[in-house]
Symmetry: C2
Subunit: 224 residues, 2 copies
Amino acid sequence: MVANAGPAPRTRQRAKSSQMHARIVDAFIECLDRHGYAAASIGRVLDCAGVSRGAMQHHFPAKADLVVAVAERLMQTSLEVVAVSARRRERVVADELAAMWTRLVDTRAYRALLEILNAMRTDAALRARVQPTLAHWNEAFERRALVLYRPAGGDPAEVRELLVLVRCALRGLVIQASIAPDAALTRAVVRRLIDLVAPRLLPRDADAPAEPSPAPARTAPRRA
Amino acid sequence: MVANAGPAPRTRQRAKSSQMHARIVDAFIECLDRHGYAAASIGRVLDCAGVSRGAMQHHFPAKADLVVAVAERLMQTSLEVVAVSARRRERVVADELAAMWTRLVDTRAYRALLEILNAMRTDAALRARVQPTLAHWNEAFERRALVLYRPAGGDPAEVRELLVLVRCALRGLVIQASIAPDAALTRAVVRRLIDLVAPRLLPRDADAPAEPSPAPARTAPRRA
DNA sequence: TTCAAAACAGTACGATCGTATTGTTTTTGC
DNA sequence: GCAAAAACAATACGATCGTACTGTTTTGAA
């Protein structure tokens, strides 16, 4: 529950504290990515971060606190990544979706988050604690999406459902790419997904016309 | 490595043995689905199956043996499910994809398999042991797919890539549906996926013409 | 019938997990 | 400067994990 955000640490103590806090969190993220949720034990995180057991106990009285803190930080980070990616002026839908893979999903941070999300499936207590942040995360995504895109088919639910579909597909692709590494296939699948979804999402404020997409985009024209 | 398939058990001993074998495997699958990979400990499986530690030791000397056996059984089972689903005469692509969700993915068995697949991401030893079966599994899927479907775009790689996309999307949707249960949204996303993919997969042997798909299928016409 | 092997049962052991506990250093408010 | 609190360090403990080990029953071939 320690507020990590902001330039807060005025005193010297809080500076050291939040620095240690960040070291633990970063180490846990790395352990999640490299060893998975089950093997991301406290001892391993301690070794990875180079901190003592007492420090861990002080900042995170229980392991669940650490997991929740990391989950919340990862979700916040992912929102920032998406925001940065959208602040660009180009606004080509296909490029934004492609960036969603390279900059957001195919990332150490997202793989770590995926481990937590998957753990939430069977851990009711964890699910209950992360649920609020997760809901806020989803809402933020959808609110942004509805501002940026309008459905090609006219159905207002289409944007939301398509973006859930994209997220799920990329999520599943992370696992696929990890257990059967085939970079060419992975790239091809991402492109297929984009070719299918992008024509149905039209940019809302036309700073640039950016792909009016009258044609259903047959066989991946290598992007316009 | 005990051959599970076939009507083999001629003797009384082998009958009992394979029965016990199946009980352990089934219990492990249920534990994987309900508690996740990390919490699917031997003790829990023992309680769930109601067998002794000695029996477990006899049939599966190490836990990895159990995991591998279960992974292989689950993959084999999923192949059978797909085969049954394809033997029907209707051959409507959209229906087949829909069945892939309800009969294959949204299933206790597949959730268990997903736990193992996800564990393979970070467990190199497990990945190495399951890799051959996994490769065979993927090949079988793709071979069948290439027999049943032809690409609407002419690109022969399209069928393979689209089916990988479908599998990944449904895989990610399993997690989504578990951590944020919204049955309506889940169904809607599955339908969106089908509406996007089905028009690009044409049935090969036209027992029935079954959806020639000249129109790109705009807003989910509730299935033909 | 006999005997060895398979099948199962139950206990024991070392390792590791998460957490509680106690002690030491550093920082801060007064 | 000083007491209190925060921050960090280090050890200890109970629980659980996976596996090894020893005993008992059942089975199949001779």
